[in-house]
Amino acid sequence: MGDSKRHRILMVSDFFYPNFGGVENHIYLLSQCLLKLGHKVVVMTHAYGNRSGVRYMTGGLKVYYVPWKPFLLQNTLPTFYGTLPIIRTILIREQISLVHGHQAFSTLCHEALMHARTMGYKVVFTDHSLYGFADVGSIHMNKVLQFTLADVSQAICVSHTSKENTVLRSGLPPEKVYVIPNAVDTAMFKPAAERPSGNEIIIVVISRLVYRKGADLLVEVIPEVCRMYPNVRFIVGGDGPKRVRLEEMREKHSLQDRVEMLGAVPHAQVRSVLISGHIFLNSSLTEAFCIAILEAASCGLLTVSTRVGGVPEAYDMIVLAEPDPTDMVQAIKKAISILPMIDPQDMHNRMKKLYDWHDVAKRTEIVYDHALNCSNQSLLERLSRYLTCGAWAGKLFCLVMIIDFILWRLLQLWKPAEDIEVVPDIVLSHDEDRGISQDFQAFNEDNSLR
C-alpha cells in the first residue's frame, strides 16, 4: 500500500485525547488509517491538565500538547498571533506539507489555519457540526468561519446536509467542499453472541443529557411508551444538566423498575451497554452525522431516531420520526413490531460493508492530493479573497493577515528556518497482519490508563 506521493500532515484541533467525543475519535482513527497508508501524521492540540509536551501514541502518531490552557469549553484563549511561533516551529521541524484543521468551534484550529496560510502551506478544514444563522453566537462564529474558509484549499464535511450548511455559512463554492462521512469501528462494536432473552424489550439510550440531544423529548416519550407496552424497559446512559428532569419523571410515574439510569458511561463500556438491549433510541434535536446510530446498528440494535440534520443520510435501516413525542411513540411502536425480523449479525455484516475507516482515509487522501495541486498564491492575491468577506469585515481581515505576514517575516529574521532542527523520519516496523482492531484495543487501553 505504498504511495507515490507521501503526505506529511498536521492535524490541528482543540479536541483530542484524553477527551472523548466525535471529533476526537475522528482525528485519532483517521490519523491511524493514514499512517497505515504510509503518510506521516502529527497532531497538535492544547495541554490537558498535566499532559503537556510531546507524546507518542499507537503507530508512531506524534502528538504535540502545546502548553496553552483551555479557557472556555475546551478552547484555548484566542490570541491571534500568540500561536505563530510554535506553529512555525512545528511545521518546519516536522517538514509538514499540509495542515488539516478540525471543528469550527476550535480557536486553535482557526489560528493554526491562518498561520499556515500566511506561511504558504496548503490547508484543509473539516467541519463536524451544524450551526444556525439567527442567534448572536452563531452570527459571530459564521463570520470567523468565513474568514478561515476564505482562503482554504479544500474543505470536508461529514454529510450532505452539513455541506449545504457550511456552504451557506461561509460562502465557499460548493465544488471545494467534499463530503466524506465518519465511519464506525465495526471490530469493536460487535453484536452479542446471543440476543438478550426473555419477552422483555429493552430500549437503550446513550447520550449526553442536554437540551440539544433531546432529553426533553425523552421525558415525554418514556412514560407514554411504558404505559402502552408493559414489557418494555429503558436503559438510559449518560449524564448532564437534564438528568434531574429524567429522575423526576421516573419518580412521578413510578418507573424505577422500568427505567434504569446508568450515569456517565465510559467509552470502553459503551458496547456492553448497547448489546444488552434490542432497540436504540436517539432523540437529538440537531445532528450533523450521528455516529451513535452507527455504533448501535453495528451492535445489531434496531435504531429509532428523530429526522434531523444528517441522520436520514447515515443509514437506511433507521426508523425515523419527527422530533415530536407522538410521532416518536409511533416510531417506537413500529420498531417493536419489526423487531422479530431483525438479525443482529446481519446488521453488523451490512454495517461492515457500508462504513470503513480505511475507505474514509483513502477518500481524504484524494482531497489532500487536490489540495496540494492548488496553485501557490502571493499575499496580494490572497488579500483580494478576504476583501469579499464584507464591507467592514473584509478590510479588518486583510489587516489581520497583513500583520500576520509582517510578524512571520520578523520571526524569519529572528529565528531563521535553518536554525530549527528537523526531526528525522522514524519508520516503525509494524506487522502487515496487524489488524486495525488491535490498534483500537490499544486505544481503549490508553483510555483505562487515564
Binding site: G132, E164, L168, P174, D216, L217, L285, G310, D316, P323
Partner: protein, 303 residues
Amino acid sequence: MDNCIAENPSPTRAKWRKVAYGGMQPGFDDNHTDECFLEGMVMNANVVKRDMLKVMQDAISISQYLCIVVLVGLVWTYTLRSTLDESSLLYLDVSLLGSGFLVLLLTEEMLSLNLLLHYLVNVFFFTTGLFVLAPIYQTLTRSISSDTIWAVTVSLVILHLFLHDYSGSTVTAPGALKNPTLTSSISLNASVVASVFIASRLPSRLQVFAIMLFSLQVFLFAPLVTYCIKKYSFRLHLCFSFSLMAMTLAFVYTLHRLLFVLLLGLLVFVTVVCPYWLIRMQEYKFEINGPWDEAKLCFDITD
C-alpha cells in the same frame, strides 16, 4: 428519505443518491454538487411584510409616551423653580386621578363595582403610604450635590424610555394573562427612582408628597390608561396623541426655545424617519431555514 436523482448521461452510470453510506459513489467525485443542492432551503419564511402607514401609526404610541414623559419633566422643572405651588400640584393630582378613573370606567368593558372598589381601596392605601413616607424622601439626598441628582435623573429617564414596553403596560388589571418582562420592570423601577430623586430636592413636605403622587400616578398608570384608550377606539387614540403632542410642544416653547426645537426634531424622527428607515432595511432581511436547523420543541418545558 429523499433520493436525489442525477441525470443519466450514459446507461452504465448509476444515479447519484444523497446518502453517506456505501463509500464513494461510483462515477461521482466526493465534491459532486447535484441539482438538488440547497433544495431544502427556505428563505424569509416568517418575515412579515410591513406597510408604511401601519408602522407610522404604531410609532405614534411611542411619541405619545415621549410627550407624557416630557410633560412630567416640565412639571418637575416648574415645581423645582417654585413656579408651581403645593395647592396647584394637589389639584393636578386629584384631577389626573379622577380623569384616569373616568377613562377606565368608560373604556373597560369588564369593570364591575367590586373591581372599582378594589381599585379605590388600593389607591387610598397608596396615597396614605406616600403621605406617611414623605418626610423620608425629603431628607434622602440632602448630602448629595445637585449636579449628581440632575445627571442621575436624566440618565434614569433615558433608561426608562429605552426599556419601556410600548406595546402594552407593565401594570395590568388583575387577571391579565401576560407577565411583565424583565426590561419593562427595569424601566418602571428607573422611573420610580428618578421621581424619588427629584422629590428629595423639594423644601416642603407637602410639596414632596404632591410631586411623588403626581410622578407615580403618571408612570404607573399612564401606560394602562393609554392602552385602554387605544384598545377602545383607534381614532380616539390618534386624537388624544395629537392633542397631547401639541400641548407638550406649546409648553416647551414657553419654557425654552432650544428644547422645543430638539423635541420637535425627536418627534419627527420617531414618527416619520424611523418607520421609513425600518421599511428600507427590510429588503436586506435574509432569513435562512432548512434541514440543518435545530428542531423546535412543540411543547413547553415545565420544570
